[in-house]
Point group: C2
Chain length 465, copies 2
């Protein structure tokens, strides 16, 4: 009896030649020789390469079915695993039977039949693009990265906490929030003054999609010590750039009894761990990205694994930028935020590898970041990486109740009564950061547009599929 | 130098008595003896139990600080690890130093100071409830279950696919959808006929929160062979029950070249794997649930591990229910869906363990479920478990284009053009199911209300925190 195997297992040498094997998958290509032999490249998603099946014209369904097969058709191939006579592959299947499971009904119009399509075009075929080399590889690397993130935290005693997606709070994303509602738009309930009566809405008040799980996960951090979120977050930003999605996945660890240095160490350890896992487990996919997408990706990941990140204070970064003689579009001055061009200069030209910028002016950072002793800066950090800019943003959180409250207005204080409670009852220094998962994936693969790093991208004007 | 350790490592015997150790955490309780010794129970979230620190009154800050400490205070304790003289614990810390990191500012009003609170009350303190025994244990078990789910799929070659949260499609959840919008409710854009012009909305059309990632993940299944989703899903159902959340997490695997039997096997293997992991890794938490919440949980999980699920056709289930002599509230008749009371009778009284009911009448099931050869039933399955009812619902998907289209109306066909494409190009038999993660967690812990199985529950009238 032939045993069923993923293509990956066969190509990796898990089965000795001579065995009867079965594979199931889809044709990546087919070539029919004049000698009456067809060569099927069968792909099942388990690895980058398809396996070659050599089909003789002696099969009963050769003329009617095998010859009619085209790219994309689903087949089950059974035969003897033999050492390959062709180049590139170690083994192939000498087919004894080819079962056609699902043909391609309309081959001329199969949207991904061609070998090469633009990424723009493939976004219009998001349901079929995982069948291409590039998006199959992205799917595997995305999975491996995600799995490595979960493993990293699990092995270190962190708990995954699923913070809420729908939130009644609008304190963090003013102007960039999606509203969530079940009100009948054709017939909105009104209060006496004519304003919309959200008391009638599903949650008996206004509700939005979250921009971050940080505030909520802090409450678990201050009970469980080490926690992280990994889930979807949202920005209703009308940005049509290669770096913005309306819906994206974010990883947000939070650690108790920790300061900004601990936070930077954690960020560095996390990136090192996941890059190592990807290089180990996605060798074939990474070779493809190196060869076809960006010939610096392997060196880039290896450099993160081999070298410590540079550390630099914001103040020092400003001095470097002021003195570097570059013509920047945006002004450089203490008190202003760094623009993308500044960040890229620092990590790409000045340092040449990832750099952690720490201690930003309090005026440009969020209320919950811890005020430093200078009274002017907060314990915030950004991790900047060559080729992509900011990949991580984090901070030590303000754990002192009175200092925190001094940075909150009355509305915020009322809304975040529970967040203040965390400082009232057993407060401890704690810190955390946010890692944009699609930007991380682009950093790893060299892909340029975050729309290609998520299965079904949501952007202004587009919630298709 | 004292080395820092999680409480779990010390209680598990990872460090030999005699070592200098440091632990950091929060006081679960404190007892001051007349002999001038205080006993601190220090908890850090790493396991169910706190570790006891024995503090002599010879410490410099004993009078001023240690005696003033109350439940919930954050401390760092350093001292010698010694064998415990008390019962229950193997080791304790003979404290040489106690650093008070964060006191409880207002001890009389600390909302979770008492040992016992009702679960209803604790829902109003969702930011503090992870500090209680029950919700700390739930957090750890939830994490372990989630991690076990990811491991199960990863080890078997599945890829985690993050299907979209925001969708332009309303085909699956008619009447139970949350709308997502950035329109100004005070000033809605109108078309000439007075209707709301959603072309002006963020996504240039109507948008909703997803009720399932199934349709989208099918497109990845038919490229990658084995995939799963694990993410938040939404129901705008006005149900105030212990089994319903407006926002909950769902696991949805999808396998290619697979039928309903493969699907049931997968469901069974998944549950068996995750229950085994929980029993192995959360022994202390599970002992607590067994003792305090539901004294059947251990036996229940072991029974799933040890026994195959019963398999039963819907038709057979109807015959059993018709002949059983029970007085049901809802009618039993071929063609009607099973009510909760019927499901519970079947798995609790008739079978006495989980049962897979298969092949339901097509009239009560979704359009995408595969029509059986009888023309009357579809290849749907529900997994019913004693004490909870339906825990998994799934089906083999209709892979035949013409049969699928016959069950879709014109609107659905137009909206799901891409879903039909999957049957046009290399279609294969495939199947999958959905597992409600909070219901699974309740099944494992014996907790009765799904609001206690998710960090911040969202229900009608409530999106607090």
């Amino acid at each position: 009896m032939a045993e069923l195997h993923p293509v990956r297992a066969l190509l990796k040498g898990a089965v000795a030649p001579g065995a009867q094997v079965t594979v199931r998958g889809w044709l990546r290509s087919k070539r029919d020789s004049k000698a009456g032999i067809s060569f099927l490249a069968v792909h099942d998603g388990s690895c980058f390469d398809p396996i070659q099946a050599v089909v003789p014209n002696t099969l009963a369904n050769y003329e009617d079915e095998v010859l009619a097969l085209g790219t994309g058709a689903a087949v089950i191939v059974t035969g003897e695993l033999v050492e390959s006579r062709g180049k590139g592959q170690t083994v192939e299947i000498q087919a004894g039977a080819v079962e056609v499971v699902g043909p391609v009904l309309d081959p001329e119009h199969y949207p991904v039949a061609k070998k090469r399509h633009s990424f723009e075009y493939l976004r219009t075929q998001a349901h079929l693009r995982p069948r291409t080399n590039t998006f199959g590889a992205i799917t595997r690397v995305r999975h491996t990265l995600a799995n490595a993130i979960h493993s990293f935290f699990h092995e270190r005693g962190f708990y995954w906490v699923n913070t809420p997606i729908i939130t009644g709070s609008d304190c963090e994303g003013a102007g960039e929030l999606f509203r969530v509602s079940t009100l009948d738009f054709a017939n909105l309930p009104r209060r006496a003054d004519g304003s919309v009566d959200f008391a009638e809405d599903f949650f008996a008040g206004e509700a939005f999609l979250t921009v971050s799980g940080q505030l909520e996960v802090e409450s678990f951090c201050l009970a469980m010590s080490k926690v992280y979120t990994f889930g979807p977050t949202f920005r209703a930003e009308n940005s049509n750039t290669s770096r913005h999605l309306a819906e994206f996945w974010m990883v947000e660890p939070e650690i108790a009894f920790a300061d900004l240095d601990d936070n930077a160490e954690l960020a560095e350890a996390l990136l090192r761990h996941v890059f190592r896992r990807v290089l180990e487990e996605c060798e074939d996919d990474m070779a493809f990205f190196q060869q076809r997408i960006d010939d610096t990706v392997l060196a880039r990941l290896q450099a993160v694994i081999d070298n410590r990140f540079e550390r630099m204070d914001y103040g020092e970064a400003i001095r470097i930028l002021e003195g570097c003689g570059e013509n920047f579009e945006f002004p450089v001055r203490w008190g202003l935020d760094l623009a993308s061009e500044h960040e890229r200069y620092l990590c790409e030209k000045h340092v040449g590898r990832p750099v952690v910028i720490a201690n930003y002016p309090k005026g440009i950072k969020a209320f919950y970041m811890r005020l430093n002793d200078d009274g002017e800066t907060v314990a915030a950090m950004d991790v900047l990486a060559p080729g992509i800019g900011e990949i991580i943003g984090g901070s030590q959180r303000e754990e002192r109740l009175e200092v925190l409250e001094a940075r909150m207005d009355a509305t915020l204080k009322e809304e975040l009564w529970w967040y203040r409670d965390l400082r009232r009852y057993g407060t401890v220094p704690h810190a955390g950061f946010g890692l944009g998962f699609e930007r991380l994936l682009n950093y790893v693969t060299g892909m340029e547009n975050v729309r290609d790093a998520i299965p079904f991208p949501r952007t202004p004007g587009n919630a298709h599929f």
